[in-house]
């Protein structure tokens, strides 16, 4: 004999079953008016689908934007890796992997030692899951195109074109960041290739912030272009950074003004202050 409770629950089941049935009957969008990435055609970024080619713009449009950005975007992007158009190149090329810092995410010219490729192929040595997480995994033909782009030097999207002005696009660590000693490269990315003859410790400064004022870091820094990423300058302290507050500034010193290889002066000085902490 059913109890009142059983009857109530049977009713609940009678409600739950149609809910499942309605979800089962829910349809995917028909894609009308959208491009291959699900963006409205003609509403910015609504370009028609393109064939995947071995250049960054095509890889961004055909792989990162439609597939990876679903998880790798915004504040909660896994491992801090944002793969939207605004961030992806600067955070991939010549930048150490967070999971395996001995490997660069994209090592220009060397796809086999690029952690991005290893994660996409599910290589034996990767940390964590193969990407894209949960599948579908990229077909080998798509990975082959990404490999080819890296083999060709992992050129930036602006390598074939010219930007309107010379500006800083990325400062890493960002303003307010807290990083562990030696865990992150110090990177300044520009909109075009900087003239390295104008890039020195007076135009690109890394200083320690002390109560008595700014102090040059002990031993100074070396400045070099990221391999295969000529618009990105790597700032390497000659001695490890001690825990404390640091300020990274570009074009803020007065006097010599940084410029790009086309002699366009830096549009605006920029700086970031970050904290270096001891490793836990």
């Amino acid at each position: 004999m059913p109890t009142p409770n059983t009857i109530k629950l049977s009713r609940a089941g009678a409600i739950a079953a149609p809910v499942l049935a309605s979800l089962l009957g829910a349809c995917a969008g028909n894609g009308q008016g959208l491009d291959a990435n699900g963006n409205p055609v003609g509403a910015g970024g609504g370009a028609p689908p393109t064939t995947l080619t071995a250049d960054f713009k095509s890889i961004q449009e055909n792989v990162f934007t439609p597939i990876c950005v679903h998880c790798h975007s915004g504040a909660s992007a896994p491992e801090g890796l944002q793969l939207d158009e605004a961030h992806s190149y600067a955070l991939l090329v010549g930048v150490a992997s967070a999971e395996q810092p001995s490997l660069q995410r994209v090592n220009p010219g060397d796809p086999d030692s690029s952690y991005l490729v290893q994660k996409l192929e599910g290589s034996a040595g990767i940390t964590g899951a193969r990407m894209p997480f949960g599948g579908p995994y990229l077909p080998q033909s798509t990975i082959a195109v990404i490999r080819q782009w890296i083999t060709n030097g992992a050129q930036s999207p602006s390598a074939s074109g010219t930007s309107a002005s010379f500006a800083v696009t990325t400062l890493s660590p960002a303003d307010g960041a807290r990083v562990h000693a030696g865990s992150r490269p110090i990177v300044v990315a520009f909109s075009s290739e900087p003239d390295m003859s104008l890039m020195n410790e007076s135009t690109l400064r890394l200083e320690r912030v002390l109560p008595e004022g700014l102090q040059e870091v002990p031993g100074g820094v070396t400045l070099s272009l990221a391999r295969g990423n000529p618009s990105t300058v790597l700032v390497t302290p000659r001695q490890g950074l001690a825990p404390g507050q640091y300020r990274l500034s570009i074009g803020a010193g007065g006097g010599l003004v940084p410029a790009d290889v086309d002699a366009r002066a830096l549009q605006q000085a920029q700086s970031s202050e970050f904290t270096v902490e001891d490793r836990p």
């Binding site: 969008g29 008016g33 699900g38 998880c71 504040a75 992007a77 999971e99 997480f133």
Partner: protein, 363 residues
């Protein structure tokens, strides 16, 4: 399984049922338990409690292999407990206009270790993924319980409380919120448990394991009410750590048992202002039916829905899964199933068909 063999385990289970208990969501719903009855983590997942270990041996398998009086409880001694989880998969995936691929993958091997340094009060816990690849720390925290176990404080790297802690980490409701067992964060959690209620408040860096920044923090708040045959919960998450904009997520989740079927449901809305150029609002939903025709057998039917951008029409995606889970003996499960994704016609990747068979070992 003969009654003679199960009696000692059932006796132990009976004793343990009198105490507090936690589990995988559908098992928790089917048995009217809170997550923390089967897992040392009060919000679920990871290492099992003694109750969870006994439950896994006595209630899950179709047949219990007799081990006499040697019953694995995870306890190496009074203070130290060990657990583990291994998933090995063979998959076939089909995507339109792409060659079918098939592969064997070691999805994960995890080791759980906990030290009850002050029994019932202070627990130190580590969840380490040891394969594939290099070691990867998933959780590492210390937790202090109040004397009456009505509240706790947890600090370290942890999974955040937000909705159902599903086994399938690629479910829309997990990938859309960005809060899953693949994205632990460093922070502090305060938990409260009283009768049918439990609640958690966590404040974390908001960078999903990435480097911290000084722009803000992530706050997660969850409350749920658990009855023997149903439960209902609400969750909110506000991540203010990205200088380009905040991300807020709200979820409602529920469980219901009707006869041999355990139902799970979750709906969530996400407003991510950090996505260029103008932010993004998303909607995701899941409903799942778990039908257990006999001990050791479970059939899982799941329907999922995703609207990846609420300002854009015709871009919705769906995902359906049919999974059969067979637990022939204790600590060993075989899972086989099919997942079908559907999306806009012009995006091939949204039309994945995935077939899989998985060997799942756990203790």
């Amino acid at each position: 399984m003969s009654l003679r063999h199960t009696r000692p385990l059932l006796g132990l289970l009976g004793l343990l049922l009198a105490a507090t208990a936690h589990a995988e969501p559908y098992l928790a719903v089917a048995n009217g338990l809170k997550c923390g009855q089967c897992h040392v983590n009060p919000s679920g997942g990871g290492q099992r409690t003694v109750f969870g270990e006994v439950f896994a041996q006595s209630q899950l398998p179709a047949q219990h292999l007799d081990t006499g009086t040697d019953t694995w409880t995870g306890q190496l001694n009074r203070f130290i407990s060990l657990g583990g989880d291994l998933r090995f998969q063979g998959t076939v995936q089909q995507v339109p206009h792409t060659a079918t691929t098939n592969s064997f993958d070691l999805e994960q091997t995890r080791v759980y270790l906990s030290a009850n340094v002050i029994p019932e009060r202070l627990l130190v816990y580590v969840d380490e993924q040891v394969a594939p690849g290099g070691a990867l720390n998933r959780e590492a925290w210390g937790m202090f319980w109040s004397a009456d176990h009505s509240w706790y404080v947890k600090a370290g790297q942890m999974y955040l409380p937000f909705g159902l802690r599903l086994q399938d980490q690629s479910a829309f409701v997990l990938t859309t919120s960005g809060i899953s067992m693949a994205t632990p964060d460093k922070g502090v959690e305060f938990g409260w448990e009283k009768g049918h209620w439990d609640a958690q408040l966590a404040v974390s860096n908001g960078t999903a394991g990435g480097s911290t920044n000084g722009n803000g923090k992530q706050t997660s708040l969850q409350a749920s009410y658990v009855e023997a045959r149903w439960r209902l919960g609400l969750a909110a998450n506000i991540n203010d750590s990205d200088p380009s904009g905040s991300r807020t997520a709200y979820a409602a989740f529920a469980g219901l048992k009707t006869g041999p079927i355990a139902w799970l449901g979750q709906a969530e809305v996400i407003d991510d202002k950090s996505v260029p150029p103008d932010g993004q609002k998303q909607l995701a939903g899941l409903i799942e039916a778990n039908y257990s025709p006999a001990r050791g057998h479970n059939i899982k039917l799941t329907a999922e829905y995703l609207d990846p951008n609420r300002h854009v029409a015709n871009d919705q995606q769906t995902r359906y899964s049919l999974v059969y889970e067979y637990t022939p003996i204790q600590f060993l499960q075989i899972r086989g199933g099919f997942r079908y994704n559907d999306g806009i016609p012009q995006a091939d990747a949204q039309h994945l068909k995935l077939y899989f068979i998985e060997l799942h070992g756990f203790f």
